[in-house]
């Protein structure tokens, strides 16, 4: 028994559609669906993953959203491998991988490609950055030959990645400051309040 996703049926449909569409949109990035990722762990430390298998050759843009219970910091990595002789069906090129939280955009660092006699392994990573209570990861890349030729036909090229999220706990000194401020407000309120009539 060989495990196959039902997507093989969809690939034939995509291929029939694609013959015309790809000719028109040869250089446009194919936007993947916005995906909301689930997180494991908690209440302080969480971990989650992203993944996609590209079945259309050419540029792609995948966006993944993470929603967190409290302000946090996050780091992550993405990985892919392809056989050089089968690049047409397996290759994923990471052009830009970014993590966006509010107005902050952090760009992943490309690891040095691990080049073997038959394979190339690619990875990109991002060290910890503040991410508030939600962030999106966008993977912009190319799948397939990626040599500017008008490649057609469904491919099967995968990448995946993981993210580590740590909830930011205020320092004890911050708590002390908050308590002191509340205490100060309380004292001021009591001073201002006229003494109750005897």
């Amino acid at each position: 028994m060989f495990f196959l996703q039902e997507r093989s049926k969809m690939n034939r449909f995509v291929r029939l559609l694609g013959a015309g569409a790809i000719a028109l949109a040869a250089s446009a990035a194919i936007a993947g669906p916005l995906q909301t990722q689930s997180l494991s762990g908690g209440p302080i430390n969480f971990t989650g993953f992203i993944a996609d298998t590209l079945t259309t050759p050419g540029n792609f843009s995948d966006t993944f959203t993470f929603t967190l219970p409290a302000p946090s910091i996050a780091n992550g990595q993405v990985i892919t491998i392809f056989d050089i002789a089968s690049a047409a069906s397996q290759q994923v090129v990471f052009n830009t991988v970014t993590l966006t939280s509010g107005l902050d955009v952090y760009t992943f660092t490309k690891g040095t490609d691990i080049v073997g006699s038959t394979n190339v392994t690619r990875f990109s990573f991002l060290a910890d950055n503040p991410v508030g209570t939600s962030f999106t990861v966008q993977v912009d890349g190319c799948a397939g030959l990626c040599d500017g030729s008008n490649q057609t036909g469904a491919i099967a090229a995968s990448y995946s990645g993981t993210f580590n999220i740590t909830r930011v706990i205020p320092e004890p000194a911050s708590f002390a400051l908050v308590l002191a401020a509340l205490g100060g407000i309380g004292i001021t309120a009591r001073r201002r309040k006229p003494a109750p009539a005897a």
Binding site: G41, Q77, I79, T80, I81, S117, N119
Partner: protein, 184 residues
């Protein structure tokens, strides 16, 4: 006799402790391309610290196949850390590269561990099992709470390539047609 019992008890205590630690067993659903190749991501999340043996079941391929695979993990604190001990696909080993990351004034050694299984031929009909052993969490007691994960990919290419198979069939058909012409 008493010493032997003591040793046996100790061994059983150790083995039961690691039995509680998380071993993840998953099935990989390979996505097919129209060219007959297959690919899929692999992901695993550990929420319990300690040694693990995870397996990913690729199934039984009905054809000879060239298979390659990747693995990667990043961990910038002990609770996020995965250390790979070994990874094999039916006994064929991955090779690992470890990347240090500067972290403030210090360096996190092996913050990123990247594994590669180069393209290897596997015979048709064999159950394909990806086995990964390692540690989740750095320095925690077994079964302490952690949140550590890794991910990877796997590619499967039938051999001969479907395109080549079609050429074989076309070639034999052409020879058959020529033979029929000559025999007339």
């Amino acid at each position: 006799m008493k010493l032997k019992n003591l040793v046996m008890a100790a061994l059983m205590a150790v083995s039961s402790a690691s039995a509680l630690a998380e071993d993840l067993n998953q099935i990989v659903n390979l996505v097919a391309g129209a060219n007959g190749n297959f690919s899929a991501p692999t992901t695993a999340t550990h929420l319990l610290a300690g040694p693990f043996t995870d397996t990913f079941n690729l199934g039984v391929v009905p054809f000879d196949a060239n298979i390659n695979a990747s693995l990667n993990t990043i961990g910038l604190s002990a609770i996020q850390d995965i250390d790979f001990i070994s990874a094999t696909l039916n006994g064929i080993p991955f090779s690992f590269q470890r990347t240090d990351l500067p972290f403030g004034a210090t360096t996190i050694v092996a913050a990123i561990e990247t594994g590669t299984l180069p393209t290897t031929l596997f015979a048709a009909g064999t159950p394909l099992l990806l086995t990964i052993t390692g540690f989740a969490g750095e320095g925690f007691n077994t079964n302490a709470t952690v949140a550590a994960s890794y991910s990877g990919t796997v590619n499967v290419v039938p051999v001969p390539e479907p395109g080549s198979a079609m050429m074989f069939i076309a070639g034999f058909a052409a020879i058959g047609w020529l033979v029929r012409r000559r025999s007339r």
